[in-house]
């Protein structure tokens, strides 16, 4: 049994989606608990990937391949989790703020969060306070993340936070911000809960805020 887990984890780390699917099927056929497959195989592999990325031993495309391999397995296991909660690190709503169409960084944050086990709702670009507000009401995330590349559009982050206060939702959700012109000082100034300079630290920040 443990061999399945070890092979699964290794295949996730190697980013081999077909192999992960095959092993997942074999494990399920052998009667392995789906939750165990997730925790001891798929997630265990992804945890190694996260750690290796952090120390520069793995690169972004490799991490995303691993995430894709993991999801290949997840898709097979998920339907069997009847009545059981799918393990999730938390839910995060992400968006590039109003007036801004730059989204490569924000999308990278989303993919890294997903590969770390978070559920991500991506609002896309040009997301004003209303869009975030609506998403919070609909998805009830633990964290919202706002991204901006421009000094003119970053002002919209403060507007969103103000709207959350007016709606009485500010204490129900953590707010994080990022993007080229953003700094820790700016995050504090506008009353955000955190700032992350890159996708990897955004993941750490979300883990910390939801711990």
């Amino acid at each position: 049994m443990s061999n399945y887990f070890e092979d699964l984890a290794k295949s996730v780390i190697a980013g081999q989606q077909e192999r992960v699917k095959e092993l997942t099927r074999q494990a399920l056929d052998a009667g392995t608990d789906p939750v165990e497959i997730i925790n001891q195989g798929l997630i265990a592999g992804m945890n190694v990937v996260g750690a290796r990325f952090k120390v520069g031993q793995m690169f972004v495309p490799e991490v995303l391949m691993s995430a894709r391999a993991m999801n290949g397995g997840m898709d097979l296991v998920k339907p069997l989790l009847v009545g059981q909660e799918l393990p999730s690190a938390g839910k995060v709503v992400l968006g590039t703020v109003k007036g801004d169409l730059h989204d490569i960084g924000k999308n990278l944050v989303g993919m890294m969060l997903e590969s770390a086990g978070f559920t991500v709702v991506n609002l896309g670009v040009d997301a004003g306070p209303d869009k975030f507000l609506q998403a919070i009401k609909e998805h009830k995330p633990g964290v919202i993340g706002m991204s901006a590349l421009l000094t003119t559009t970053m002002l919209s982050m403060k507007d969103t936070i103000e709207v959350l206060k007016e709606e009485g939702l500010r204490n129900k959700v953590k707010v994080i911000v990022g993007g080229a012109p953003i700094s820790q000082d700016f995050a504090e100034e506008i009353g955000a809960d955190g700032f992350a300079p890159d996708a990897a630290s955004a993941t750490d920040l979300c883990k910390k805020l939801l711990a």
Binding site: V60, L101, I104, L150, T151, T152
Partner: protein
């Protein structure tokens, strides 16, 4: 005297990445991208203009037939001249392989030369930067080296332009938040030039705008291309593409996708008014797959810059390049290495208007010390490009015979005549002997640069604009401030 047949001389070193055949292949590939995949244009007016020009619209998605691209390539001027705002002198001729160097624009941060601290850039930091650029002989044009952030941000572009134009006469490449900011800046330029036509005839300002990679023209960018064309003023359009991120990881794929972004911008501009001056930009580089930064110092960044320069020469388009910048977070050995490589390769390749000299931290922070050090590097690179002249006078056979074995050349007229023109003397680079260097305070290159920066800030006075012109410019800035209050 014999005649020499079949004699080939290199007036300069020869340096190229792409052959004409490869340039053609990449051009055709970019045209295929525009016909097949197309771009998104988030500006209704620009879409209307494109439709009238023969493009195919599908919502905001615009596909551009190759014939429309070819027409734009034919109508765009092959050269653009930029002037000094004080003297009117036509100093910067963007044509052929002429390489000029200047700074970069919108860093959120700058290093304070007095405290050494990284801080948000301000109107004062931009004013200081422009003074320093104005004083440095190897810098040919100005970009602000920081976003002015201690004024209302929505109209900070007007303040940024005011800080630039008050502190330098060199041509300015400026950013604007949108067409309203751009219009105010044009108005300031027309005041200085003495009228709309005067500015068009002798432009000392060009606007910088950029698409969003991959293949997107935001409203701000597309509308600026349209306004620049209507005004007949030059515009720089610079795709910033990341290999493996916003474009393919392969260098040829980067060039193709980046060029498609440039050419679609060119079409918007030329379809608005044929013959409008347009400068093709391009910061083509990699996304570092470990840190995810947009690299300003990688070898691929230099390789792509030189390849794009080959492409620009092939297309006969004036080009906006990038050099003298670094991923290093402080001005250290890495910063020196990356600047030397990029400046040398840029000078050898000959893109025309080369910006970002003085950027550190992958384009997030500016350093006046780094700028000042790079002033020397540009001088050194220019010496490389001047190459070696081979003729009777430079071969100096009579002189070699006259001096003979065991003699010396130190006191010869020939030496006196040539040693200064054949040799470049950098200002801050150390060639002192050890004892003299120690006597002089044992200073590092950075320390010497810092002293020079402070000396310029405290003692150099750029040629001022007439008082009444300054007042009129101030009035434009204040009018914008009133609107956001």
């Amino acid at each position: 005297m014999p005649v020499k047949s079949n004699y080939v001389a290199n007036a300069t070193p020869l340096f190229s990445i792409l052959s004409p055949g490869q340039c053609e292949e990449i051009l055709f590939a970019a045209e295929e991208v525009l016909e097949r995949t197309g771009v998104t244009v988030h500006d209704e007016e620009a879409r209307d203009i494109l439709k009238k020009a023969g493009c195919w619209l599908d919502g905001i998605r615009v596909r551009i037939p190759s014939a429309v691209v070819d027409r734009a390539l034919n109508s765009v001027p092959k050269r653009v001249t930029l002037c000094n705002s004080r003297t009117g002198s036509r100093d910067v001729l963007l044509e052929g392989n002429n390489a000029y160097f200047g700074t970069g624009s919108d860093t959120p941060f700058t290093i304070d030369p007095y405290t050494g601290q990284r801080k948000r850039s301000t109107k004062q930091s931009v004013s200081w930067a422009c003074k320093v650029i104005d004083a440095l002989p190897n810098l040919d044009f100005v970009m602000s080296l920081g976003i002015v952030q201690d004024v209302p941000l929505l109209i900070s572009d007007r303040h940024q332009f005011e800080a630039q134009v008050l502190n330098t006469g060199k041509p300015i490449v400026t950013t604007a938040h949108d067409i309203y900011g751009f219009a105010d800046i044009i108005e300031m330029c027309e005041i200085i030039a003495g009228g709309e036509e005067e500015l068009r005839r002798n432009p000392f300002m060009t606007l910088y705008a950029e698409p969003i990679s991959p293949l997107q023209h935001a409203w701000e960018a597309a509308s600026k291309l349209v306004l620049a064309a209507r005004k007949g003023l030059p515009v720089v359009y610079t795709p910033c593409v990341m290999a493996g991120g916003t474009v393919p990881a392969t260098m040829a794929g980067v060039l193709t996708n980046g060029l498609a972004e440039s050419l679609s911008g060119l079409v918007i501009n030329q379809a608005t008014r044929e013959g409008s001056p347009f400068i093709m930009g391009g910061v083509f580089t990699i996304m570092d797959m470990s840190s995810t930064i947009f690299s300003y110092g990688s070898p691929e960044f230099n390789l792509l810059m030189s390849a794009l320069a080959d492409m620009a020469h092939y297309l006969k388009l004036p080009m906006f390049g990038t050099a003298g910048c670094s991923d290093a977070c402080v001005v250290d050995e890495q910063a020196g290495i990356e600047a030397a490589l990029s400046i040398a390769m840029t000078a050898l390749s000959g893109p025309n208007l080369n910006h970002d000299v003085g950027y550190i931290e992958y384009g997030s922070t500016s350093s006046l010390e780094y700028l000042t050090i790079n002033n020397d590097v540009i001088g050194m690179a220019r010496r490389l490009v001047r190459g070696i002249k081979v003729n009777d006078e430079t071969l100096a056979l009579d002189l070699i015979d006259k001096v003979g074995p065991g003699g010396h050349f130190l006191a010869e007229d020939h030496t006196m005549k040539y040693f200064k023109t054949e040799t470049y003397y950098p200002e801050l680079i150390n060639r002192q002997r050890y004892d003299a260097w120690k006597e002089d305070g044992a200073k590092t290159l950075f320390q010497r640069a810092n002293e020079k920066v402070k000396d310029i800030i405290e003692n150099y006075q750029p040629e001022p604009l007439p008082a009444d012109v300054q007042q009129k410019i101030r009035a434009v800035v204040e009018r914008a401030e009133q609107k956001v209050r």
